[in-house]
Amino acid sequence: MSEATTTLPAAPEHPPFLQHHYRAMGQQFDAGKIGMWLFLVTEVLLFGGLFVGYAIMHAKHPAAFFEAHHQLSRTLGTVNTVVLLVSSFTMVLAVWSAQTSKRKLLILFLTLTLLCAATFMVVKGFEYHHKFAEGLLPGNFYTHRGDTVPGQFMFFSFYFMMTGLHGIHVLCGMGAISWLLRRAIRGHFSSAYYNPVDLVGLYWHLVDMVWIYLFPLLYLIS
């Protein structure tokens, strides 16, 4: 019996990050990718509900939405758009660094992405603070006075639900990027294994894509 075990051919080297239920790294990569894209589709539909609600209410009350959007700072909105686009750029460079096994660059680009995300949230925090101070709160909490068009509170219900849900996604992204950063510092990622960087990158770009639509819908009404 012991002879049988000793005469078995030597098992091929097991890649350190290959999970036991996958046959090969490529299969693991493909499965992760499909899973992430399916998740992104559910995200699109989650935000989709808010976008459809926005489309209906904006179509029915264009004057109220137009008047209400003057309360938003176009400058801060534009700054945040640029910050988020740059963060997408640094994220894709992080993925490239992982693909080409450049550990130091990967750490650098992940840190830059995290800083951009933090900047976005700080700017958003200032914007929210201004809205709170003015009583521009969603639904029943709306206490702003001096509206010239009825129904302006509706705009702020959408503003807070859409940017709030988006902000939660940015915070989750920051958590995921911090996790990547920790693993990158430990040297886990290389051209042989970078699935997590790639998948978090996809998620981060979707968050960016949602903002690409939120920006004109909320800040640039004409």
Binding site: R23, A24, M25, G26, Q27, F29, D30, K33, I34, W37, L38, L40, V41, T42, V44, L45, G48, G49, F51, V52, A55, I56, A59, K60, R74, T78, T81, V82, L85, V86, S88, F89, M91, V92, L93, W96, Q99, T100, G139, N140, Y142, P150, G151, F153, S191, A192, G201, L202, H205, L206, D208, M209, I212, Y213, F215, P216, L217, L220, I221, S222
Partner: protein
């Protein structure tokens, strides 16, 4: 034993790796389009302002999807994503078809946030509260 090699190099190495110069160009295009959409919002194109803003946003989103999310090299994921967008389009289009057949959710002369909905029947227009007698009474 062929099955062991299935998918071994399928995803990780079958596509050329896009380099930083391409990504930098895409970022430049995205920033230019952002400047363009902010500028366009300052000009009055009448009803086309929203259309222009959404077209620019869609071009930006496509650049992000094709380059940053690598969809131009990843047909399979692109099909998954486009299927999702198809259902979003169905959701949006059929809902928008419907809204023009509905009466307003509350009167146009409303001054305060809605605390209670008037509860008017959906098949009759809501009477404006100007004291005018309802038609037919």
């Amino acid at each position: 034993m062929e099955h062991i090699t299935v998918g071994q190099h399928a995803a990780a190495h079958s596509h050329p790796i896009t380099g930083p110069p391409t990504y930098a160009l895409v970022l430049l295009a995205l920033l230019t389009l952002t400047a363009l959409t902010v500028t366009a919002a300052g000009i009055n194109f009448g009803p086309y302002n929203m259309v222009i803003a959404l077209v620019i946003a869609t071009v930006k989103a496509s650049l992000v999807a094709l380059f940053f999310m690598h969809l131009r090299h990843d047909k399979f994921s692109a099909v998954i994503f486009l299927t999702g967008l198809l259902f979003l389009a169905l959701f949006l289009i059929f809902t928008l078809f419907d809204i023009n057949t509905r009466t307003p959710l509350f009167p146009d002369n409303l001054k305060e946030p809605v605390k209670e909905f008037p509860g008017a029947p959906l098949n009759k227009p809501v009477q404006p509260s100007t004291g005018a007698a309802p038609a037919g009474s």
